[in-house]
């Protein structure tokens, strides 16, 4: 599944997507950044409700393919600016984390 496919499936909004055709290799859900750093596999879609600027650093350093901000949580312009500057793909969806993952599982 590509980032574009995922965005469509989740009826998501592209906050910044540099690589719409990048393949998502796996997924990880969580909000505790050290857990995400330590356990999210590289190339994954990361489902979270965290929206502070540190999500960008985590995504870059852990090689996360796309951040999926769930529950329609508002993402500040400075976070999107940082994503743009660092080439991080970030989308948002109104679905909660469980709902988003269920949707992927159902295809």
């Amino acid at each position: 599944m590509t980032i574009k496919d995922l965005t469509n499936l989740l009826q998501g909004k592209e906050l910044y997507v540099e690589e719409p055709d990048r393949t998502i290799e796996s997924g990880y859900a969580g909000d505790l950044l050290s857990f995400v750093m330590g356990r999210a596999p590289s190339g994954c879609a990361w489902f979270t409700v965290m929206t502070n600027i540190n999500i960008c650093a985590v995504a870059v350093l852990a090689d996360i393919a796309v951040i999926v901000v769930c529950e329609g949580c508002e993402v500040d312009e400075n976070v999107i600016a940082k994503a743009r500057q660092q080439g991080i793909n970030i989308i948002s969806t109104e679905l909660d984390i469980f709902g988003a993952i269920k949707k992927i599982d159902a295809g």
């Binding site: 857990f35 330590g38 965290m50 502070n52 650093a57 350093l61 400075n78």
Partner: protein
């Protein structure tokens, strides 16, 4: 290749710039063509150390030496020190305050992650004087 030496000042309590030293090191290693899995290991371990300096020590210095076969990251602070290193290494143990936890840090995974991802993680600390963490990652 001679060793490449890099130095960074890490700003204490600044969660906006936190991680910028690690991001710079990651970019350097990537530019040198180091195996991405190794770059990722260095980045994760160093980021945890950098965040710890921001949270607990009012910042500090990061010194990085890149060799042909390994990278040595030294994170030096003059913060309050760690009274019980063994306890601090336990997953889930944390002394971070509520504000830090609200940002998604302080889950007590920082030191365990450093140990997991670096090949060697040496912690020297003296209460009231500061902490030096040395992370050695060998390239595969």
């Amino acid at each position: 290749m001679d060793a490449i030496h890099l130095e960074y000042d890490v700003d204490g309590k600044n969660f906006v710039s936190a991680g910028s030293a690690t991001e710079s090191v990651k970019a350097q290693l990537k530019g040198l063509g180091i195996n991405p899995a190794d770059v990722r290991r260095v980045a994760i371990a160093m980021y945890e150390g950098e965040i710890n300096m921001v949270i607990h020590a009012n910042g500090g210095k990061a010194m990085v030496d890149i060799f042909m076969d390994k990278v040595i990251v030294k994170l030096i602070d003059t913060g309050k020190g760690i009274p019980d290193i063994e306890q601090a290494m336990k997953p889930g143990f944390s002394t971070a305050d509520e504000d830090v936890r609200n940002l998604g840090f302080g889950a007590g995974m920082g030191l365990p992650n450093m140990k997991k991802y670096a090949d060697e993680c040496i912690i020297e600390s003296e209460v009231g004087k500061g902490t030096t963490v040395t992370l050695i990652t060998n390239f595969s």
